[in-house]
Symmetry: C2
Subunit: 204 residues, 2 copies
Amino acid sequence: MTEDMTRPAFTRAEPDARRLSLIEATARVLARQGAAGVSVRVIALEAGVSPGLVNHYFDGIDALIAATYAHADAQVSAAFDAAVAAAGPAPRARLLAHVTASFAPPIADPGLLATWIAFWSLVKSNDDIARLHRDLYAAYRRDLETLLADCGMADHDRRLAAIGISAIVDGLWLELCLAPETFTPAEASAIAERHIDSLFDLPQ
Amino acid sequence: MTEDMTRPAFTRAEPDARRLSLIEATARVLARQGAAGVSVRVIALEAGVSPGLVNHYFDGIDALIAATYAHADAQVSAAFDAAVAAAGPAPRARLLAHVTASFAPPIADPGLLATWIAFWSLVKSNDDIARLHRDLYAAYRRDLETLLADCGMADHDRRLAAIGISAIVDGLWLELCLAPETFTPAEASAIAERHIDSLFDLPQ
DNA sequence: CTCCTTGTTGGACGATCGTATAACAAGATT
DNA sequence: AATCTTGTTATACGATCGTCCAACAAGGAG
């Protein structure tokens, strides 16, 4: 009786828009409840749609989590690009800006880590997920290698340098999300910056 | 009919031994199926006991996963200690041995990562889990700080140095477990070793 | 040998899971 | 205005989840 009879019971959406709304709902659920409390029904409720719609757009919940991870990764990459662009033309400043961005919002966020954890938990049992992880991580390191090349690092040194930078940044980011009181973002940046400096000083 | 009527239907075990067998069964299930496929029934089947026994020894499955994590962490710590002890008396060699041990069995193991992922996925929603993570990680860094002190590092530098070493080691360990073909354990050791060297060279 | 303690079993219970599908209605087409 | 397409809903389904508990039996106590 309190219902407005003139308003439609539901509205149709562009397929891509609906997909995106489901992905964003998944990210919000993961951020709020963690990887343990995610399910088709909770996601559908968060997105304001019926549970059946999830399987209409995604081949199972694993595919939805994979899509959510890919979307979050794209947002992280965009944040990296924005930080690098804002750093100006100096190659070293651009590299440091890329790294420092990992320790500030929106990247350093316990809620975002939940998406990574949910994704990691599927790598072992799902080959598609494993392949996606491998590809996105390779792209991540490739971006670092480009920045290192711009800094003048020799070609044969870049691969291990990028692996090392990605490792220390990921390790700091992980702990910063799991236990933010352990150290500050500024301390994380200082640690990462010193590590990068060591890659250029004293080339042996 | 094929049953041996003289054999007991079950055997009683010491409480600590039974707890341990359930913990080890949980670790095997996590290593085999990943964090997604773990449940009370699967664990009980793996341990060769009835499902009800899990709740008799642990306050829910979250507590069992926490106990499994604590047990795995103790085994990792023991492996660290053994590696350090085998390295001899030289402080720097002991520190490097500690770090290098992270990239070799039994620590570098995709199955072991599953225990960590299952545990991480509970940190956000369970305060006891969060506290356990904080305590065990603090102990981890404290061990590193002791090794750094033995190497002659000044007191005020040790905290950030230990955070940096734990971060780069964790980052390398994580990727080594998720995608072992990306780089070799020897490359991981070389990266970590160079990072540690940089902490002592050029003290600025 | 008998009793007693209690570790252990095995199933019941309600909740929730992922998936599948028939009925419905929104909105473009004609 | 009538029709058609299909995005969406609502529900049903079987499986599995974590938890609980009464009954059983192993094995030490007396």
